[in-house]
């Protein structure tokens, strides 16, 4: 499903973000990518969503050769990948249900189906009562749940959560991680990038540890070391 072969990412001024990464993620896996900030977690996420192109190596995501993917096919790829961001990235001028519906609207899904799915997704993240609120009127945890509902809207094959709990307290963070586990149980591949020790230990699934752009350990049923 995702295959990193000798991937390096070097930003201008010779900043090495990733060096010689080899990583295979299979369908249905739950992979936590851990490491300090600057270790390269976000770069891995951005390479998978085609926000960045690798400098060296070969990368395949959902059958796309990411070193050669043309700009016109990126939307097609992104519709199969749901992303939850640390800063939520919600449309500030749209309501909760519009934010979730939006991801489906860009995929040309008919309105009657969208309505049903939005209701279902908001029930899943327990926000049905706040569907007409604007992001400003929500707490951090609620915003992250909207972001998660949106990421799941197109029934993605892959769900990437990049520091989803970075702006949340522990109680809310645990809620989000439990939701991610639930999504994974329903068949979606989940990639969780984080530096939060407690939530990684709570998941008890595969843990890939990065340091200075290199993989220093890859353990199934692992715990957060470092």
């Amino acid at each position: 499903m995702i295959n990193f072969k000798n991937i390096s990412k070097i930003y201008p001024k010779n900043t090495v973000a990733l060096s010689d990464i080899n990583l295979v993620i299979k369908k249905g896996e739950f992979v936590s990518i851990v490491g300090k900030s600057g270790a390269g977690k976000t770069t891995i996420a951005r390479l998978i969503t085609a926000e960045e192109k690798p400098t060296q190596g070969y990368l395949e995501v959902l059958g796309f050769d990411m070193t050669k993917i043309p700009g016109s096919r990126i939307p097609e790829l992104r519709r199969q990948i749901g992303v939850v961001f640390q800063d939520f990235k919600l449309l500030p001028e749209s309501t909760v249900s519009e934010n979730v519906a939006f991801a489906m609207e860009v995929c040309n899904i008919p309105s009657n189906l969208i309505e049903k799915d939005v209701d279902r997704l908001l029930r899943l993240v327990e926000l049905s009562s706040k569907k007409d609120k604007f992001p400003d009127q929500l707490s951090g945890g609620e915003k992250q749940r909207v972001s998660l509902a949106r990421a799941l809207a197109n029934k993605p094959s892959i769900l990437i959560a990049d520091e989803p709990t970075g702006n949340l307290d522990m109680v809310m963070a645990k809620e989000i991680v439990d939701l991610l586990s639930k999504v994974n149980e329903l068949g979606t591949t989940v990639i969780l990038a984080t530096h939060n020790k407690d939530i990684v230990n709570r998941v008890e699934k595969r843990v890939v540890t990065l340091e200075d752009g290199k993989i220093i350990s890859d353990i199934s049923k692992g715990r957060y070391k470092l």
């Binding site: 969503t49 926000e51 016109s72 939307p75 097609e76 790829l77 992104r78 519709r79 992303v83 990235k89 919600l90 449309l91 500030p92 001028e93 749209s94 939006f102 991801a103 609207e105 860009v106 995929c107 040309n108 008919p110 309105s111 949106r150 197109n154």
Partner: protein, 305 residues
């Protein structure tokens, strides 16, 4: 593109127009101001050109023949004048016609009519009025008439009276045309830049929104669509406001302008109404094209996610 995506894009455009109402109003205000400046410049230029043309049309040379000049000689001179490349029209007014016109003009003035009756002969002279093709050509025509061979037949050439006016008008019209064009060009350029920059700011303030759209898998055209719809709305509303403001302003100042251009029969309002559809169409075209093109250019940077 499927029908419901066009419908959806239009809905997005309209919704975001309302949600960002203050930004929309600010943009519309700037576009409206620019359109007023641009269209007033065009209208004013056209008005000045028309009034100069009207004033020029009123200028002519009058030639008065001596009482004893034979009709055949007059016809010869008219023929020669008509052959002149500088002359546009030569109108002959025989003595009898001149008298009738004079009588008609003074039909209420019994004293004048009675004095005319006293005279045995028609005291008025045969006249020809000559119009030149260009205002610069009058001196050449006058030179032609001042030749030695015409001296015995021509009583007087009525040009020197008008000479100062003609020369002055000539100079003024040339500099107004040149200046008007330059000022107009400058104002229109400023308007275009103002509209472009306003829309650039509007889109810049929504760069994050564009980024999010891209990240959830929207195609570039799906993102551009609502902004194009907004651009069209900006153009449409600004044009309507501009036309309404122009209408009332012109209605208010039209009488004063007519006073200023004393002999000018056509009023400013009349001019505006005659060219109403052209003015409306051009303004609409300019504002929508600017709105849409500016949006597309301003968005390029944000679409590179």
């Amino acid at each position: 593109m499927k029908f419901y995506s066009i419908k959806r894009i239009t809905k997005f455009g309209v919704v975001s127009f309302w949600r960002n109402l203050w930004l929309s109003l600010a943009t519309i205000t700037i576009i409206t101001l620019s359109l007023i400046i641009a269209s007033s410049t065009v209208i004013l230029n056209a008005l000045i050109n028309t009034s100069i043309k009207t004033a020029q049309d009123k200028i002519d040379i009058s030639v008065y023949f001596k009482q004893d000049t034979r009709e055949s000689k007059i016809q010869d001179i008219i023929f020669e004048l008509e052959e002149l490349p500088q002359a546009q029209s030569v109108v002959y007014i025989p003595k009898q016609e001149a008298l009738e016109k004079f009588k008609q003009k003074h039909q209420d003035d019994i004293l004048i009519l009675e004095s005319l009756e006293e005279l045995d002969d028609n005291p008025l002279l045969a006249t020809i009025n000559i119009k030149a093709k260009e205002i610069d050509y009058y001196p050449a025509i006058v030179d032609f008439l001042n030749q030695e061979r015409f001296r015995d037949y021509i009583e007087k050439i009525d040009y020197n009276d008008n000479k100062i006016v003609i020369d002055k008008l000539n100079t003024i019209s040339k500099s107004i045309k040149k200046g008007g064009f330059l000022v107009g060009l400058a104002f229109i350029t400023i308007s275009v830049l103002m509209i472009f920059n306003t829309i650039k700011l509007t889109i810049h303030s929504r760069g994050r929104e564009i980024e999010i759209m891209k990240l959830v898998g929207a195609t570039n055209w799906f993102i551009r669509g609502p902004f194009i719809v907004e651009g069209i709305l900006f153009g449409l509303i600004s044009t309507i406001i501009t036309i309404i403001i122009l209408f009332f302003t012109i209605n208010k100042i039209s009488p004063q302008v007519s006073l200023f251009f004393t002999d000018y029969e056509e009023t400013l309002m009349g001019y505006f109404l005659v060219y109403f559809w052209q003015i409306l169409g051009l303004t609409l075209l300019m504002s929508i094209a600017l709105g849409v093109v500016s949006s597309l250019i301003a968005m390029r940077k944000h679409l590179k996610v």
